[in-house]
């Protein structure tokens, strides 16, 4: 499955958002996700199906003013 993860196109063998995070090796990192510009709560990642070409954003706490 071809996905664009944080702006970078990659091939990932995963059909749900949760599976993609595992495949990408995020492990227990504290992150939040959006799919095609829409927020996906953590509890729904397992049931959120992915399609070829989907855009995934994975964010974490960071410095800010």
């Amino acid at each position: 499955m071809r996905l664009v993860v944080n702006g970078v196109e990659q091939e990932i063998a995963a059909d749900t958002l949760a599976a993609a995070l595992l495949r990408l090796d995020y492990g227990e990192a504290k992150v939040a996700t959006a799919l095609n510009g829409e927020f996906v709560p953590a509890r729904r990642r397992g049931e959120t199906a992915l399609r070829d070409g989907d855009r995934v954003e994975i964010v974490a706490p960071r410095q800010g003013g």
């Binding site: 944080n6 702006g7 990408l24 090796d25 995020y26 492990g27 990192a29 504290k30 992150v31 939040a32 996700t33 959006a34 510009g37 829409e38 927020f39 709560p41 953590a42 954003e57 994975i58 964010v59 974490a60 706490p61 960071r62 410095q63 800010g64 003013g65």
Partner: protein
């Protein structure tokens, strides 16, 4: 002061960005006596996991976090960012920024009001970064905001209070709304001036983060804000157009 039901002793809200190191950032937060720090959400790489160490340090500081929607140019971006921030930081607080995409970082006041309404309806407690425009501020309050954060000057400019007259009028129009000057503060004297105007707090980042000695500057800001609050409470003199002598005019020796 009280914001969204939370009592805060410190009137200095500090940003966590632009410090030379996370260690200096942590020391600056402590020197400032800040109880609230602003944070953002940004892309995380699985390999480097940059955000995890930052988050660990913030939790260690034991401060409240105010996540921002920095870098958002549209209502949709700001709302989605806020939703992600709420989940990550487990807080309803959001510093709402919907900014001009031409590089000025000025608030897009129309987008900010619209996003404020959407987020307030969804249970967020919105701290809107705004101009001092009275109508805009009224709309933000009508949209559900219970705090206003008018700018002093453009973000990161360090210019201070570009329109103290406008800020003063805003203070007078809404005596009971917590008002926090956010953006453009460069020196502790700017922060003191904001408190002397009767503002409830100041939010700043660049002035401390990029100072030669951020920890010392954080302490200086803390002192200046305390001085401003004390001065406001002590009943400052009214300015006059013309001189008025400070020494007695009676009993002057005739020495001509």
């Amino acid at each position: 002061m009280k914001v969204y039901g939370v009592e805060l002793k410190s009137r200095l809200l500090l940003g966590t960005s632009k410090y030379p190191s996370l260690d200096v950032m942590a020391k600056s937060v402590r020197a400032a006596g800040a109880e609230v720090v602003t944070v953002s959400v940004r892309r995380e790489s699985a390999q480097f996991r940059e955000g995890q160490e930052f988050w660990r340090i913030i939790r260690e500081l034991g401060v409240l976090v105010l996540p921002n929607t920095a870098g958002c140019y549209t209502v949709k971006e700001a709302v989605t960012t806020a939703q992600m921030a709420r989940e990550i930081f487990d807080t309803a607080w959001i510093k709402l920024e919907v900014i001009d995409d031409k590089g000025t970082l000025a608030p897009d006041v129309f987008g900010t009001v619209e996003a404020a309404r959407i987020l307030s309806d969804d249970g967020f407690e919105v701290f809107p970064y705004t101009t001092e425009d009275l109508i805009v501020c009224d709309r933000l309050l009508e949209a559900g905001c219970k705090v206003l954060m008018p700018w002093g000057a453009p973000i990161g400019s360090g210019k201070g209070l570009n329109n103290p007259f406008g800020l003063r009028v805003l203070r007078a129009r809404h005596p009971d709304v917590p008002l926090i000057v956010d953006a453009g503060v460069g020196l502790p004297s700017h922060a003191a001036a904001a408190m002397e105007l009767g503002y409830d707090a100041v939010l700043l980042n660049t002035a401390v983060g990029t100072a030669g000695d951020p920890v010392a500057m954080a302490a200086a800001f803390r002192q200046a804000i305390e001085a401003g609050v004390a001065a406001r409470g002590a009943g400052p003199m009214q300015p006059k157009e013309f001189a008025a002598p400070s020494s007695p005019t009676v009993g002057v020796a005739a020495l001509a």
